[in-house]
């Protein structure tokens, strides 16, 4: 917040594709990447006389999303027509849910954002189902329309205005994406339009109970843009208020090139959508046993997994939060532990540093960027048994990322195994003590600080492979003898 006298009130509306094979209302492929207008049929083209039929899996995924967000699942929900004209909207209306959505209430729990902070709950208003529109491709003087995306199932997740900063909005989106991926409802890929976001922002004097006038920012398709747009809009509104002005209730578009928001022309949002119940679809009925069956098929959710990591594995809240921001990362961690690692936090930190670094440096997905989790686990086990040092493990890991070879093979290949044999270490210690008689005398005379020097000399003599624990032990015994 640029000005501490104000606080921001932020609500998000997130649209995300549901991972179905076919579209919401017809048997066309919902897949991404087909040639123009290949995944279309009379239904999703809005030809005269066509009718929608609901995709059962889409409904199940929407219910799963609702359950994951602690929503109440409506036993009866209604589809509605939302009318507006746009070339990518084939029927002249979008089938959506309005008055009676599938999921009501609920919340998303934001995990601790740094060491020492606490989890926060962002309440949800609703989650509803709707169909996507096609895509307009703008050319100079003309536009081209592809309806492949028309009719792909979406859920819209609407939050209460519980978010207080751009960073928190980012955290909310990351957690939401994590949940959607855990429950396999959505892959949350923003670049394919799989996750889109509208933001409502207002500011008020800290301590005030009334909300200020809000603006809506549309067209945000990356987490970074959401955060930037909020920062920009909050600052803009505070400037207006500080200079005695009034914020106008209007809709803004995010301009990703200039990294600023600009108001839409009045025509752009002077919409009267004329919602009314979709007469071509009877009310959607969801029985309690259907909800129960979906509930029992739900995987562990990020928040539950975080709690378990803290409770059963002794991780800090922050460590648990980092690991669970991605389902694959958490699974990687758990597979590492399955090799029998005793020090869970070492494993957690390994994932948070070494594995995440590998992902960031290669910009590739986990499976491509890092060795198998089981090999990472074996590598750390070598550290636990003292076979190699932690530094040697890092060296080995870097090599494994490139070669894809196993832990044992890599450690052997790079000669990283450390010497723990007591007689070999004792011999090296004897040599150093003999060579440094003067310093030994000083040490024995009370200069304790020299101990490190001796350790260094022994390690040097052993080519760095002496097990530090054993070296320390034997050296101490011999020096004090």
């Amino acid at each position: 917040m640029p000005d501490n006298a104000y606080e921001a009130i932020i609500g998000l509306e997130v649209h995300t594709h549901l991972m179905t094979r076919s579209k919401l209302f017809c048997g066309c492929s919902a897949g991404f990447g087909a040639g123009p207008n290949e995944n279309v049929c009379p239904v999703c083209m809005g030809m005269p006389g066509v009718l929608p039929v609901l995709n059962r899996h889409a409904v199940e995924l929407a219910i799963r999303t609702g359950l994951a967000a602690h929503c109440e699942i409506a036993p009866e929900s209604i589809f509605a027509r939302k009318s507006y004209f746009y070339p990518d909207l084939p029927k002249g209306y979008q089938i959506s849910q309005y008055e009676l959505p599938l999921c009501k209430g609920g919340y998303i729990e934001l995990p601790a954002q740094s060491e020492g902070t606490e989890a926060r709950r962002i309440r949800l208003t609703r989650i509803h189902m709707e169909e996507d529109a096609g895509k307009n491709i703008h050319e100079s003087g003309a536009s081209l329309v592809d309806f492949n995306r028309s009719g792909v199932p979406l859920v819209e997740i609407v939050s209460e205005p519980d978010i207080r900063s751009a960073e928190e909005a980012g955290a909310y989106l990351r957690e939401l994406r994590s949940i959607l991926r855990y429950i396999e409802a959505s892959d949350g890929k923003m670049e394919e339009g799989g996750l889109r976001c509208d933001v409502n922002v207002s500011v008020r004097k800290r301590g005030a109970s009334e909300f200020g006038v809000k603006t809506e920012i549309k067209n945000l398709n990356s987490f970074r843009f959401v955060e930037k747009a909020i920062e920009h809009e909050v600052a803009r509104q505070i400037d207006i208020l500080e200079s005695g002005g009034r914020v106008a209730q209007e809709t803004h578009l995010w301009d990703p090139v200039r990294e600023m928001t600009r108001p839409m022309r009045s025509k752009e949002f002077a919409n009267d959508y004329r919602y009314f119940p979709e007469p071509d679809l009877p009310p959607l009925r969801v029985t309690p046993d259907v909800v129960e069956a979906i509930k029992t098929s739900m995987p562990e959710l990020p928040a539950d997994q975080r709690a378990r990591f803290v409770r059963d594995l002794g991780l800090t809240a922050y460590e648990a939060a980092v690991l669970t921001q991605d389902r694959d990362l958490a699974a990687y961690f758990e597979t590492m532990l399955a090799t029998g690692l005793k020090n869970h936090r070492t494993a957690a930190n390994w994932v948070m540093t070494e594995v995440l670094r590998a992902i960031n440096e290669t910009a590739r997905p986990l499976a491509d960027a890092a060795p198998l989790a089981i090999e990472s686990g074996e590598l750390l086990k070598l550290v636990e048994t003292g076979a190699i040092s932690l530094n040697a493990a890092k060296t080995a890991f870097a090599a494994m990322c490139k070669s894809g070879k196993g832990a044992d093979a890599t450690v052997a290949e790079l000669g990283l195994a450390q010497v723990s044999d007591e007689s070999a270490i004792a011999a090296a210690c004897d040599k150093v003590i003999a060579a440094e008689a003067a310093k030994v005398a000083e040490y024995r005379g009370g200069r304790d600080k020299l101990f490190g020097f001796f350790v260094g000399q022994v390690m040097k003599a052993m080519g760095g492979k002496g097990n530090p624990r054993v070296v320390n032990e034997i050296l101490k015994r011999k020096l004090t003898a």
């Binding site: 048997g27 290949e38 081209l144």
Partner: protein, 112 residues
């Protein structure tokens, strides 16, 4: 009662007040994306006023305790399994296109 509507052929007398203004006609035409001439606007104002006047008889009914009926079919939306059943056939889907570019529909500049 039917006699309250008047016997067929007997024209309903139109009340003096219009139920809808020309501005409203224009607003609705904008929503409906219909270009109207001045004559169209005047005719529609008269027609719609007369029809809305007629519809106003519904206000004689107290419906405060009545639930709305949106549909009269059987309740519960049937669902289809999530199976891809359609094969790509862009040529058939574009066969009626007023203008196209390859397998894309072509439209003039989109005014936001």
């Amino acid at each position: 009662m039917i006699n309250s509507i008047g016997p067929p052929g007997m024209r309903l007398s139109v009340m003096a007040d219009s139920k809808i203004s020309v501005e409203q006609v224009r607003h609705v035409a904008r929503l409906a994306r219909l270009e109207l001439s001045a004559a169209d606007e005047a005719a529609l104002q008269a027609n719609l006023s007369e029809i809305l006047q007629y519809i106003d008889q519904l206000n004689r009914l107290d419906t405060s305790a009545v639930a709305p009926t949106a549909q009269v079919g059987e309740a519960g939306a049937p669902m289809r399994e999530d199976v891809v059943a359609n094969r790509p056939d862009p040529e058939a889907m574009l066969a009626n296109a007023p203008a196209r570019a390859g397998h894309l529909f072509k439209v003039p500049r989109i005014i936001e």
